[in-house]
């Protein structure tokens, strides 16, 4: 028993020594302890939608708002929406990290396209922004769409 206690003391000492290395200390505080704190609040917030909003942020909430517009108008299945790059929205004061079309579809079920895509010219709708808000507009003139694509192309695309 005496030896077991000595070995237990050695175990605890080894763990203490391990925890004294700066990177281990940082990892444990920033990850494990912080995640444990998250758990204590998360365990009472189990709604799926809340979890998605919390994890994916404005990228998800704004995408859902955009998709909500089409769901309300009943043309969710057939619409193809051109979404400008994130930098375009940022410049106009809209906090929206634009998800790529596959991720947008995952979030919402709405098909979108980016300016660098060959199908961008088929878009029937596009999202534009100005002074902190965005707007969804139908494409009525192909020339307007082409001009808009050329303007949007000036902004870097970021995945």
């Amino acid at each position: 028993m005496k030896k077991t206690i000595v070995l237990t003391f050695i175990s605890i000492s080894l763990l203490y020594l391990f925890s004294q290395f700066p990177r281990n200390q940082k990892w444990f505080t920033e990850r494990i302890v912080s995640y444990w704190d998250d758990f204590n609040t998360q365990k009472n917030r189990l709604s799926i939608e809340e979890r998605k909003k919390k994890r994916w942020g404005p990228s998800y909430t704004v995408s859902k708002e955009i998709a909500g517009f089409f769901a309300k108008n009943g043309n969710m299945k057939n619409a193809l929406v051109l979404i400008p790059p994130s930098a375009y929205f940022k410049e106009r004061g809209v906090d929206y990290d634009v998800p790529e079309p596959a991720v947008f579809y995952y979030y919402t079920g709405l098909k979108t396209t980016w300016v660098n895509s060959p199908v961008a010219s088929n878009a029937g709708w596009m999202v534009i922004a100005g002074k902190g808000h965005y707007q969804i507009i139908p494409v009525t003139d192909k020339k307007v769409l082409t001009d808009s694509i050329n303007i949007f192309k000036k902004y870097p695309l970021d995945l």
Binding site: S11, L15, N24, W27, A102, Y106
Partner: protein
């Protein structure tokens, strides 16, 4: 309720994997048998929806679960006696945890719990997942096929839809089981791999040394992050390590069923990440070494090669050539991703240098991987300077570490898209369990363990 479903799925996974072990006549200690059975079971689960899809059978929840149950039953036609044997062994085995193991085990349990919770609670985040396997799985559940409306979306920004279907299949199964984000299968892999590793370490080392090594392994920051963020690399590293474990078991026991199991496990690793096939070929060199001095060199080398490489080659052909190149409704050929200038080895040396200088020995090493690499090097140097002759198993593990060290830059040389900051950084997950098992077999730590055990037993 989710816990109950996890337990039921776990039992089904265990039974499936156990059936395979019995068919291969591989009888292991209960703890190893259970952990390995569950891990193999998960891999079998990951293949079933894929095969159903290849046969154009709609992926309804009934079809998926009925197939799983049928496969499980078929694999267990001859398992009755072995199940009784396992239960008997369990009943008569003394499962004791020593007091000095507790600090390590409690800490490991706490760290594992945090990972499980995040895996369960948070939706999938990595872009490689949400723009590929996850979105395909989400719509496969809605549309009952993996060739679904995702392929009508503008996919110009991604090639993630062409990733092997390992994750997609498991996501489908777990979404049908009532987990909206799937994912928890990763926690099952994480837990049972840790159980397996702890046992593997405890075979040669004293529990104190095994415990501290486990803590060092589990707290590799980057690797830990991928125990709750689903991507391919963590699971890939698990099955790659298991494959090598049984390959080296084969080297010491010469039992053919071990190398067959090793080949199957390597095939699973290849199914998860197809480029693992390259590493399997490099590892095959160790089979050549094994038979080198034998009089009849050629025949066993070729036979072992067939057992070890052919399953991986088969799964590569099925999951890449058949499924991605021919089956999917898009024009995508892996060959187009190959390096066009194979005679120029500059990119290989460059990647080897960058990987060593920026990821393994300097640069972001501590940030990404903590002190694990340094601890491995410290033990290796001490072993060499102490003039302890490395035993054969330690040499094998050292060779395995070398195979990954050389293999990852070689993959990057073959496929230039295999970048440093993502693919190689995560590809290095494969090297850490191998380093750990090298340490478990290093003569230095074994002799230290023996001294502690001796002291502990003397009155």
């Amino acid at each position: 309720m989710p816990v109950l479903i996890i337990i039921l799925l776990g039992l089904l996974q265990f039974s499936t994997g156990f059936g395979i072990l019995v068919l291969l006549k591989i009888y292991l200690k209960p703890v190893v048998c259970i952990s390995l059975s569950v891990l193999i079971g998960i891999a079998v689960f990951a293949i079933i929806p894929f095969l159903l899809q290849l046969l154009y059978i709609p992926l309804t929840s009934f079809a998926v679960y009925a197939s799983i149950v049928v496969v499980c039953l078929l694999l267990n036609l001859n398992s009755g006696k072995q199940v009784l044997q396992l239960l008997y062994t369990f009943k008569h085995s003394r499962f004791r945890i020593k007091l000095y193991e507790l600090p390590f085990l409690l800490l490991v349990c706490f760290i594992v719990f945090v990972s499980i919770w995040r895996c369960y609670y948070l939706p999938p985040t990595p872009r490689d997942l949400t723009s590929g396997p996850e979105v395909i799985a989400e719509y496969a559940v809605k549309e009952k096929t993996m060739i679904n409306s995702v392929f009508t979306v503008d996919l110009a920004t991604t090639n993630n839809q062409y990733k092997p279907s390992f994750i997609t299949c498991l996501q489908i199964i777990y979404k049908y089981a009532g987990f909206p984000f799937g994912q928890v299968w990763l926690s099952v892999i994480f837990i049972f791999f840790l159980v397996f590793l702890y046992h593997a370490l405890s075979v040669t080392l004293h529990k104190i040394i095994a415990g501290i090594l486990m803590i060092m392994f589990i707290s590799i920051p980057e690797m830990y992050a991928y125990t709750f963020m689903v991507l391919f690399d963590y699971s890939n590293s698990v099955f790659f390590c298991l494959s090598l474990y049984f390959l080296f078991e084969f080297f010491s026991s010469e039992k053919t069923n071990y190398i067959i199991l090793s080949g199957i496990l390597m095939a699973i690793a290849t199914y998860i990440r197809s480029e693992t096939l390259v590493l399997a070929c490099i590892v095959y060199v160790s089979v050549l070494f094994h038979y080198w001095k034998r009089r009849n060199f050629l025949k066993p080398t070729l036979r072992s090669g067939a057992y070890f490489i052919l399953p991986s080659l088969f799964i590569y052909l099925l999951s890449i050539v058949v499924y991605i190149n021919w089956y999917l409704p898009s024009d995508y050929t892996i060959e187009t991703l190959l390096n066009k200038n194979l005679l120029n080895f500059y990119s290989f040396y460059q990647r080897l240098s960058d990987m060593t200088g920026r990821l393994l020995l300097a640069g972001d090493t501590i940030n990404y991987y903590g002190y694990f690499v340094y601890i491995f090097l410290f033990i290796l140097c001490l072993t060499i300077f102490d003039r302890n002759l490395l035993n054969k198993t330690a040499l094998n593990w050292l060779f395995a570490v070398f195979a990954v060290f050389i293999g990852l830059p070689f993959i990057a040389y073959l496929f230039p898209l295999y970048d440093l900051d993502n693919s190689t950084k995560r590809g290095l997950f494969k090297i850490f369990p191998l380093m750990l098992l090298f340490m478990a077999n290093s003569p230095l730590l074994i002799s230290l363990s023996d001294s502690i055990k001796k002291w502990e037993q003397t009155k």
